[in-house]
Chain length 341, copies 2
Amino acid sequence: MKPVTIDDVAKRAGVSIKTVSRVVNREPNVRSATREKVEEAIAALNYRPNPSARGLAGRRSYLIGLLYDNPSPSYLANLHAGVMEACRELEYGLALSPVAYADPDMVAHVRAWLRQAQIDGVIVTPPLSDSAELIAAIRADNIPAIVVSTKGPGIVPAVLIDEEQAAHDMTSHLIGEGHKSIGFIIGHPDHYASERRLAGFRRAMQEAGLAAPDDVVRQGYFDFDSGRTAAVELLDLPSPPTAIFASNDDMAAAVLFEAQARKLSVPGDLAVAGFDDTPLSRQVWPGLTTVRQPIRTIGRTAGKALLDAIGAGGMPADVPEPVVMSFELKRRGSTGPHADD
Amino acid sequence: MKPVTIDDVAKRAGVSIKTVSRVVNREPNVRSATREKVEEAIAALNYRPNPSARGLAGRRSYLIGLLYDNPSPSYLANLHAGVMEACRELEYGLALSPVAYADPDMVAHVRAWLRQAQIDGVIVTPPLSDSAELIAAIRADNIPAIVVSTKGPGIVPAVLIDEEQAAHDMTSHLIGEGHKSIGFIIGHPDHYASERRLAGFRRAMQEAGLAAPDDVVRQGYFDFDSGRTAAVELLDLPSPPTAIFASNDDMAAAVLFEAQARKLSVPGDLAVAGFDDTPLSRQVWPGLTTVRQPIRTIGRTAGKALLDAIGAGGMPADVPEPVVMSFELKRRGSTGPHADD
DNA sequence: GTGAAAGCGCTAACAC
DNA sequence: GTGTTAGCGCTTTCAC
């Protein structure tokens, strides 16, 4: 069975192959009637351009890259799905590339990969997106790039939520339920989001006139085990907090785990809140109150912006303002009115 | 910076481009003196063949595909990582393709994708891998394929674990801890593993001389909500089982959730076991006793076997025996001695 | 054993 | 707005 080529489409639509190419690549200067005819033929024949031919002729790969370092599987799956949606429309492919952030040759590895695979643009996820050296190198190689879930070094566009505001709102929610002593578990220090979430927590506490002494703010690393350690420390305090807000769901689940192990009732004895709304937050008992981020939409938005930049022949000279997506508080069983008083 | 092409290498080595091509592709019929000259030139120039040009001229993509339908993110992430390991050595790329199993045009969509993207071979995951129609179509198109986590229709190689034995061993473990009435939650009916795990459960019960009446065997669909429904039904029974074995971790977590909601103590009042050893199994309280599968190794093994077949010019005439990987029982807090008697 | 020529399917440049 | 022509860098085919 011979693959459908651009010639077949051109013949069926009664136009030249160049016009088909224009339609496929969303170029201007095509009359809409012509465009429709071509689109009809593409659909009827179920035509898909041959990526190798495109790459060879266009001196690019029609591939965008997604760089990540060990994110939570659901984060990656959602982001990936979102970026794919953006790619599908423009017939772009998506190449995933795991990168070891801590590798001393990390920047060199990434550059080699981008060049070798002829990647046309990249989406960079935390914590890689906060490596000023990496982002600068990618820009220097003149490869369009976008960072997600962080502002990055400010030299490429970003798509994110207002982490500070989200953490503020969650903290305020806990305060509104009567909690006065709230523990906080910070995320991985290399992530932009960690600092913002802590800032939001502090602002909300301050606005309510509540204290947030150093011993109720603990360092975690976004993983379950560090969350458990932090939970142990917080609950071993002479007067432990009545609520704990962890910077992500994995760590919040660990707090829940430790609370259960101590036979504390949740939320009666201890309220727990997380961040991210991962599947985990619905699967632990009681369900985790958390902040939902539209990861998939972030992926789609970043993908579209990146493809726009590629289509426009590169990144614009001045960096656009970060795109800020909305978030949502999801209230589940792990938080509730504080009744100790 | 102009990329080094095959012409540059040919010029420097003083041979024709065809000879360079022969050396690069490890074809026979090149005198070793010639080969060495060419290799020297390749090294000196740091030449890498352009994948697009290779793909276009050679009518293949140097890409393998991974077909999936909504698997758990951690399953996909691990499998993906394993397949990538296999790809890296041979400079192959990996393209992911989400497929809607229930789509009436599913087979046509997959065939179109394989054809248009010129995919050189595919790895197919459950439940797609159990669609005899799909696998037959892929074989008919003469595209090398391998199924994982299932035996498939038997016309392509498979990499899996002995699901029946694993479920048998877990059931025996529960029996060994004193449970006589054990509930079972079946997985999604379209998955091969579901049937095998049920069979293993039944065999273990039978070997122990225990009954497994129909009302303690409930249908689930591998997701949390169906697990919860099944758990409710089982726990509402006039004499509920003292242990529940769910066919995967998501459903087992739902059993745990329902047990907590009913203030049942686990494992005292109810023991719970899962399957897959997803991250979730360590993050719920108490930790889930479960079966660990080496997903990443399965991916690497399948990837290597597929690349071997591609390199050998296609699938061998007779289908090799399935590769059976080992599994492991992970004992955590959700199971323990039964003390009711 | 080696080379010359003919494309693979598409985009870029420029003509109309 | 649309078509024509000339490659992109490689493998294939078939000469020698």
